[in-house]
Amino acid sequence: MSTAYRSALLVAPSLLIFSGLFIAPTLYFLLVSFWRFESYELIREFNLGNYREVARDYVALGIYTLFIATIVSLSAVTLGFIYAYIARFKAGRFGSIMLFVALISLFGGYLMKVYAWRTILGTEGIINNALLGLGFVSEPVTWLLYNPPSVVLTLTNFLFPFAMLPIAASMRGIHDSELESARDLGAPFTAILFDHVIPRCKTGITTGFALCFLIACGDWVTPVLVGGRMTMLGNLIAAQFGEFLNWPLGAAMSFSLLATAFLVVLTFSQVMRVFDWR
């Protein structure tokens, strides 16, 4: 048995799962987006009606969703960069603990983190507790929760490890000596940052941004739980598979969102190229 043949055999189950549960459903879903639902019946006739509906009614919501996702991802990447920088260059032995803490929070408690922010920001939350206790306000402030900023804050908190870890990974490749020699030559901190550190972390930053952005733009749980009456496109997509039962429209919304999201990620990676010539 040749090595190539044996390799193929070993990888086959994985590829089978991948094609059966990813390629096939995605292609089918794309097909569904060109059909329509009428009186609870799936009509399998090719038409562009769903996409026309998305273009007519949901452009504003789509842009708003991408806008929120952009703010979230930029915040997460910025914070992640600072954190990774401290862990790599400033924290010494403590640095690996910092990374480990972030790595652990990567897998745990998606719903719990959203819920926790409700506990922190709500009218009976701990911030209001503190404000009342210290006598700064006489009745609870309501503007902390149930608005777009609380969604941004919550999502940034949740997505932080997704942004930080790729950046930390690319920072591993930078040697202390490189920065030291630049510093010895009298380069100011900003110059070191922009000429040495960021260009070397470009891949990490772009990967982190992409991961955050793609998760944030499809999120619907956070707006429901901490967004008040705020709606993101994800909420309407989810509703097409819940109370509204209109798969084709939901599919068309999904693919429109995906396409524009990839455009944003592509734009971001192009913008990151300004660091190339340095």
Partner: protein
């Protein structure tokens, strides 16, 4: 004047608060004796843990979460290890690009993946149940397992295997007696990471389970209705399982990136 290094310590401390405070609060309020999740906590109590155990939906939901997690761990460990072994024999470039392809599902918003899977299952006439959830989770966890196991196999000293073969062991026997014992901790660790991902997942489960709850979908229902600190108790349990399996998984695999 404050030393520069103190500033970094301060910033790092702020980050730790930002990262860990929400989770600590969830855990803390699971032990309150009051009906609200706020301060002051008069007294620590197990009131809400008892309420959790008495909740008729708790045991079935936990059982489902464990069933799914177990199935996901088992299948993704076997399939993922096989794939990693296959990739390890390929040129590194080919292996890396195949790995990237297999990781694509992680690049899709979970919601889109979830609804497209649900649509697919239903259109095939399948019933949505624990099986469909498990299968969907495996799609997400197998790239992790492959990545971690492949990283070890790549650095595996092939000479040991060759000497085993020289001594007359069949490929399968050589794998079982030489490779497997060496990579077993890594495989086990990777399986535990898969458990962590599966146990915490809400979005995919919500759309592909059909009826019945797992722990995350159970607290989702509770959060949308009247909220009591029982949510914190169940949430703490989920956190404990995911964090402990991540910790064990990471220390077994020694994988750090």
């Amino acid at each position: 004047m404050i030393g520069r290094s103190h500033i970094w310590v301060g910033v790092a401390a702020l980050f730790f608060i930002f990262l860990l405070l929400p989770l600590l609060l969830v855990v803390l309020f699971a032990f309150t004796n009051r009906a609200l999740t706020n301060f002051p906590i008069d007294e620590l109590s197990l009131r809400w843990w008892r309420a959790m155990l008495e909740h008729p939906q708790f045991a079935p939901s936990l059982r489902r979460s464990l069933t799914i997690g177990g199935g996901v761990a088992l299948v993704s460990a076997v399939v993922g290890t096989a794939a990693a072994a296959g990739l390890a024999r390929l040129p590194r470039r080919t292996a890396t690009s195949l790995l990237a392809v297999l990781s694509l599902p992680m690049m899709l918003p979970p919601l889109v993946l979830a609804v497209s899977l649900a649509t697919f299952y239903v259109s095939l006439g399948m019933q949505l149940n624990l099986f469909t959830v498990t299968a969907s989770h495996i799609l997400l966890t197998q790239p992790f397992v492959i990545l971690v196991v492949y990283a070890q196999l790549r650095d595996f000293d092939i000479r040991i295997l060759e000497s085993a073969r020289d001594l007359g062991a069949s490929p399968l026997k050589a794998f079982a007696t030489v490779t497997l014992p060496i990579i077993a901790p890594t495989v086990l660790g990777a399986a535990l990471l898969a458990v962590a991902i599966s146990f915490d997942d809400f979005v995919i489960t919500f759309f592909t389970i059909g009826s019945g709850n797992t722990l995350p979908t159970l607290i989702w229902g509770m959060m949308r209705s009247s909220v009591t600190p029982m949510v914190n108790a169940i949430g703490t349990l989920i956190l404990a399982v995911t964090i402990i399996s991540t910790l064990l998984g990471l220390s077994l695999t020694r994988y750090r990136g």
